[in-house]
Every structure is written in C-alpha cells, then in structure tokens.
Amino acid sequence: MPMPEWLRLRRAEAVPADQAAQWTKCPKCGSMIYRPDLAANAWVCPNCSHHFRMHAFDRISMLVDSDFVEIGGELLPGDPLGWTDKVSYPQKLQRDREKSKLTEGVVCGFASIGGTPVALGVMDFNFRGGTMGTVVGERITQLFESARERHLPCIVFTASGGARMEEGMLALMQMAKTTLAVRRFHDDGGYYVSVLTDPTTGGVSASFAFQADVILAEARAAIGFAGRRVIEQTIRQKLPENFQTAEFLLEKGAIDMVVERSELKGKLMRLLDYGIGAQRPANGRAALLRAIGAPPESAESRA
C-alpha cells in the first residue's frame, strides 16, 4: 500500500519550489501572508482567521493520521455531449488538470482519522468549480458502496458550484445516483457525516451534502441552493450580508454545527466516537489495512 506521492510530499512539509517565494493576499482583511505560513496554519489567515478554500490534497493531509488509499482515481471524464463553447470541454478539463494537479473534482479513498478507519471523500473547487459530472458522481457512489461493503463510516467534504453544465443531463442524474448510494449505505446501518465547505451549492447541496446523519459546516462557508447572483437577479434587491453563510444556516436550523477549521479534526474524532463508538487503536495504519482488507505487513515492507 504505497503512500500517494502528493501525500508523502505534504507529510514532509516540503514547500514546492514554485511556491516558496509566493505571497498571498487575504481576500478578507487584505494582509499579505507568506504562503508557507498560510499552509502551516491550515490555510487560515493568521490575521483575521479567514478560511481559504483548500486543495483536496491539503485537506486530506491535514485530516488523516498517516495514509490515504485512493479509490476511483482511474475514472476520467469523457465528453458525452461533444461540448464546445469558447474552447472544447476536453480542453477545459486539460487546463484544470494542469492548474489543479487533480484528475477530477473529488478525491475519494480510505484513511484513518484519530485511529478510526473511514471512507473519505474531499471535493475541490479548483477543478471545474467542484461541479458534479459523471466522474464525481461515480467516485462518490463508489465511495459509499465501498464504505457499505467494509462497514466503514463515511465522511464527505463538499465544495461545489452544482451540476456540471458541460455534461448536461448525465450530470444531473448523478444527484439521483449518489442519493441511491447514500440511502442504501444508510439503510444498511452506515454512519455518514458531511462537512460543507466554501462554497456548497446547487446539485451537490441538493443531494448528498444534505443527506448526512450529521451535517457540519466550516465557519463562514457559503452554502445554499441557488447561487447568490441568481437570487439577486430574480428579486432585484441586495441580499443581507450573512445570507447563505454557514452561520445563517445554523440559525435557520438547517445544519448541526459550524466548526472552525482548527477544531475540525478533533470534532470529527468525537463524532466518530459518538456514531460508532470508535476505539482508538494504537496503530491506525494496521486498523486501516484490516478495514480495507489489505494483508497486514511486516516491519520491512513498511520501510
């Protein structure tokens, strides 16, 4: 079970050369932040605690104990509609692959969190705005199916602009497909926690994001069904400042809790404990291997 290259790099806290000298401006308070400092602070502004959108790889490396075994990574999008506007859909995909280093809008797999093996899905807004096309739908479906087979709890981080237009109705149907997988997982006794991150809207919020047993949201994340612009155009008036934020949804009773990123892993560990009475085996890696059915390894093979 080799550790993915990206996870090994992040574990080593190696700052890629092209990033070393970069400074980033906080969109909230405007302060200039040295990127490695930002990364070390889980992409939270040290000045105003603005939560930057996180790359899926960073998110996974922040959460998991040690390893991550990806599933569905081999699934790649086609071009079912033969879509072209300014550029072709395959060109858009290629551009996003290069820009994000991702193959699609979600990374799914197995890992252990605080010693408890889980099925984990992390969406990434950097790839086509986290939109759900056939591959995102398929990977999420496979995640729930695998979690059900292995009796693992499932945690999904959502970040999405909704269904992906360039895959048309095939994209919309992923809402139905993932719903069926979540429901089957649930009816079989599965425990599912979703974490809504900035932004979670459209077809993703209207399917698996809001079908979890426990629904968390990251502080100040934008969450809703219709996009803010659509609503403004429809009603032709300015929307209140906190409209469609995590805090707004908490107040309206739509989600269970709002969590600061720095407290997220601890909170998830507690929720795993409540949900499945997660003991903390000393060796998270061994527990993970058992859970996914991989053979236990000797000391040499680990090295």
Binding site: A163, L170, M175, A176, A206, L239
Partner: protein, 316 residues
C-alpha cells in the same frame, strides 16, 4: 414572445381563411371544393415545414407554450382526485398539487407541478417553481404512498425550484435532497412523466422513478437554458445557444438512457389536441404501472438502484 406562438401566427390566419371559405361555400351554390382543398394542402405543407423538425430552442418554446396542457389538466383527467394539502410545517405550496387519485380504476398518489394558466393563477402557483414546502409535501405524500402500498405518479413541469430568499431560509437544498432520498427508498412503483419543462434538480426531485416518460416536445435539462447560459457565460440572453448544446430534447435523452419512453405529440404540439395528449399520457402511465405493480418492493428498489447506477458509469 414565445417563438412557437410567433410561428403559429401565419398558420392561424390560414386556418381562419379556410374556415371562412367553408362557411361561405355552404351558403353559395358555387362549388369551392377545389379552392378549399388547395388551401388545406398549403396549410398542411406549412405545418410540416414549421413543426416537422424543430430546433432545441423551438422545443423549449413548445414546452413553454401558453396553451400547453399543464399539471392540473392531467390531474383533472384522472377518474377521481382528492387533493391533500400542505407540508404539515409551514404552508401549502400551490406550485405542487398532490393527493389520492384513481387512474383507470387503480388507486395511486398523484403529484403534479403546475405553472398556472392565467396571470392570477401563475402568481398563486409561483409560475410552477416549488418552494421547500412543495418538496416537503412530496416527501409526505411519498411516505403516505409507501405506507399504504400505493404507486406514485408524478407529472413534471417546472423551470426549476424557486430561487428566492424565503426558499433559501427554509433550506431549499435540504428539501430537494430529502425528496430524492425518500423516492430512493419507497417500496412502491414510481412513474414520472416530463410533460413540459424539466428544469434541473427542482424537476428531478419528482423524477427519481422506476420509469421516466417524456412527451415528445417536452425538454429536460441540467439547468434551464437561461440558467445554464448565466452560469456558463454570465449572460442569460444566450439561452438559445445553451439550449442547442445541452441535449435536452426527448430523443437525446432516450439515447442517453435517461428517459425510458417518449410519448408522441400531434404535429404542431400537445396544445393542438390537449384532450388526446392527456389521455395518451395517462394510458402510458397506466401501462408502465401494470408492469411495475407485480414487482416485489425489494426488487423494485434494486431495479431502481441499478437503473440510475449505470448512468455515467464506466463501460464494463
């Protein structure tokens, strides 16, 4: 102005001329059969030319034609209907009509989206855009159907779920997600028919079904063409262009395996023969139910799972 209504203008003029000529002929001893026949031939030619092949945008306009049969027309054509109101929490959303019904003698729960016919009714029904309460009514009715072992029959016609402040405050996304969640597990047959516009998740929330039927000139898309154009290009005005790319016509969706059966419409659209179209839709629904009611609940759920499971799955 609706593009189909625009195209119909010339035809309506011709229709009136033929009618006038016929009345005239009946009062006169002169034989005008030849003239009438010539006009009728011309009429048929134009009709074929205008409606024989339609662009996706024309289909969208056909689906939105002001005279097209609406959800309530299908409900009214059932043998019997008793409306059940409200979501038991907040209010009764009139964009969705639902209740006990009999379809060809069979007891069912019928649920329809309705856009409203005249201005007053359109406002009452929020132009067919359901609020969370509408979807919560659906959830409640599907639970009732499941409890009583009654099949669920839905008629889909919406440009999308309501995008207002109130709908967001009352968790529109959660309402749609839960409606899908409920349909996913119902142990009774579900037959959905897209009768006009199937707009996005707001339509799918009534269409996670064992059998999905669609009228020939209905459209069903990931977002309304205006919505898709706004999302893609920040310009709702490019709706026609979006419509041509989205593959939202009944033949496209039949090919993708998203729709199981297409119900033909008369030349010129459903509104040319509303009674006939409504009857043929109800016959198709009845037919679909006959095949499904013999299937055991667990087998139904399994088949429903497999039906959607293969959409967008890698070829094996």
């Amino acid at each position: 102005m609706n593009a189909i209504v625009e195209r119909e203008k010339g035809l309506i003029e011709l229709e009136q001329r033929i009618a006038a000529l016929k009345t005239h002929a009946a009062q006169q001893p002169v034989d005008m059969t030849a003239e009438i026949r010539a006009l009728e031939t011309k009429y048929a030619e134009i009709q074929r030319e205008v409606f024989g092949t339609m662009t996706p945008w024309q289909r969208v306009n056909m689906a939105r034609h002001p005279k097209r049969p609406l959800g309530s027309d299908y409900i009214a054509a059932l043998d019997q209907f008793d409306e059940l109101h409200g979501d038991r929490h907040f209010r009764d959303d009139r964009a969705i009509v639902g209740g006990f019904a009999k379809l060809r003698g069979r007891r069912v729960i019928a649920i329809a989206q309705d856009k409203g016919r005249d201005t007053k009714e359109k406002v009452l029904r929020n132009f067919g855009m359901p609020s969370p309460e509408g979807y919560r009514k659906v959830i409640r009715l599907v639970q009732l159907a499941d409890h009583l072992g009654l099949p669920v029959v839905t008629f889909v016609d919406t440009s999308g779920a309501d995008p207002g402040i109130g709908s967001e405050e009352r968790a529109q996304a959660e309402a749609i997600a839960q409606s899908l969640y409920e349909l996913a597990d119902a142990g009774v047959p579900i037959v959905a028919t897209v009768i006009g516009e199937g707009g996005s998740g707001g339509a799918l929330a009534l269409a996670l079904a064992d059998r999905v039927l669609m009228l020939e000139h209905a459209v069903y898309s990931v977002a309304s063409p205006e919505g898709a154009a706004a999302i893609l290009w920040g310009d709702a005005g490019r709706a026609e262009e979006a419509a041509t790319r989205l593959k939202l016509t009944s033949d496209d969706l039949l090919q993708f395996g998203i729709v199981d059966e297409v119900i033909p419409e008369p030349l010129g659209g459903a509104h040319r023969d509303p009674v006939g179209v409504v009857a043929s839709v109800l016959a198709a629904v009845d037919n679909a139910l006959s095949a499904l009611t013999v299937v055991a609940p667990d087998e139904l759920r399994d088949r429903r799972y497999r039906k959607f499971r293969r959409i967008g799955a890698p070829a094996t």
